[in-house]
């Protein structure tokens, strides 16, 4: 009985804390929209729409394909900037420019923000699901010992492992066998890119590159 009462009190406290947090912070997750040039209207771009459009066009919407854009920054060329809210990854170039790629990011509750670095990289990496994912996802459980690299591997063609100092954050920038998920909030906190794009990014960056992750309302990664 005492245990039940304590549990209820804990639940009440937790509910109050979550409510207070919800009232004092701006929600970080919102819908992606795509401009339809035919109807001249913005349309909701969710998982179902994305999959349908990808099946039709065999590529991501134009905005999420690689392109060189103006980017005014004091950050050094080679720095990676991730705008999680808008689903873009920028690789800073000289002359106030950047290469912009489309990305998929953490779904609700899995987003984060912080300043980290590329600690190491891998080609066609092995994917080892974390213990909590093994516990909740039967598909992940069968690969508890590690899934070898290949076209069906969730990490895709390349992985950039994000470190804070010398510590692995467990977050990665990686490819994906699900290219229609670019532009959406879908992951467990990793940044996913089309395989062609991650191969291109991998060829342009150096281990040690600074990575700035912007995501409004998401938890700050420790150390910032």
């Amino acid at each position: 009985m005492a245990g039940t009462s304590m549990y209820s009190r804990r639940q009440l406290l937790l509910t109050a804390l979550i409510s207070a947090f919800a009232l004092t912070t701006t929600p970080s997750f919102a819908a992606t929209e795509i401009y339809d040039a035919k109807t001249r209207k913005w349309v909701k771009y969710d998982r179902a729409t994305a999959r349908k459009m990808f099946a039709r066009n065999k590529q991501a919407p134009e905005a999420f394909r690689p392109q060189v854009v103006k980017f005014r920054t004091a950050e050094q060329p080679g720095t990676i900037i991730i705008d999680g809210n808008q689903h873009f990854l920028y690789l800073v170039q000289p002359g106030h420019q950047a290469i912009r790629y489309g990305i998929g990011v953490g779904r609700e509750g899995f987003g984060w923000a912080g300043i980290v670095r590329v600690g190491r990289v891998a080609e066609w990496p092995t994917w080892t699901p974390p213990a909590e994912m093994v516990a909740r996802d039967p598909n992940a459980a069968k690969w508890a010992g590690g899934q070898p690299g290949g076209p069906d591997n969730p990490l895709g063609a390349r992985a950039l492992y994000l470190y804070e100092g010398d510590r692995d954050t467990i977050y990665r920038i990686h490819g994906t066998p699900e290219p229609w998920t670019i532009g959406l909030d879908v992951s467990s906190g990793c940044i996913r890119m089309n395989n062609d794009d991650i191969v291109d990014l991998h060829s342009r960056i150096k281990v040690g590159a600074k990575v700035i992750v912007l995501m409004q309302g998401a938890a700050l990664y420790k150390g910032v």
Binding site: R40, I115, L220, V224
Partner: protein
């Protein structure tokens, strides 16, 4: 009589210019510059980072300890960016041209 000819020529020139503009796509169609967006309207990433750089310079905080945490558009040309600088909150305004117009603590 010469005046009428001049007016007629001007009208023809104006019509030809309009036709050319329409044909070359110079006429405004109100198409957005970006064809994807989030319903959460944040400041462009480069403008957020210009604010981070300004806060770092102004407060003497190491640049790798200053992170934009939220932003919003104030008007058509200005954004407000909230930042965490080594645990302390700062607010910054920046315009579309990349000019940081104010930085304040709290």
């Amino acid at each position: 009589m010469p005046q009428t000819r001049t007016s007629c020529r001007s009208a023809m020139l104006a019509a030809a210019t309009l036709a050319l503009l329409a044909a070359t796509g110079c006429a405004s169609t109100n198409e957005p510059q970006e064809t994807a967006r989030s319903t959460l309207q944040t400041a462009p990433a480069d403008l957020q980072l210009l604010c981070a750089s300004a806060v770092s310079t102004q407060t003497g905080t190491a640049s790798d300890k200053v992170l934009p945490i939220s932003s919003r558009q104030i008007d058509g040309a200005t954004y407000q960016v909230e930042l965490d600088a080594a645990g302390k909150r700062h607010s910054c305004t920046v315009d579309n041209n990349g000019n940081v117009t104010s930085v304040r603590a709290g």
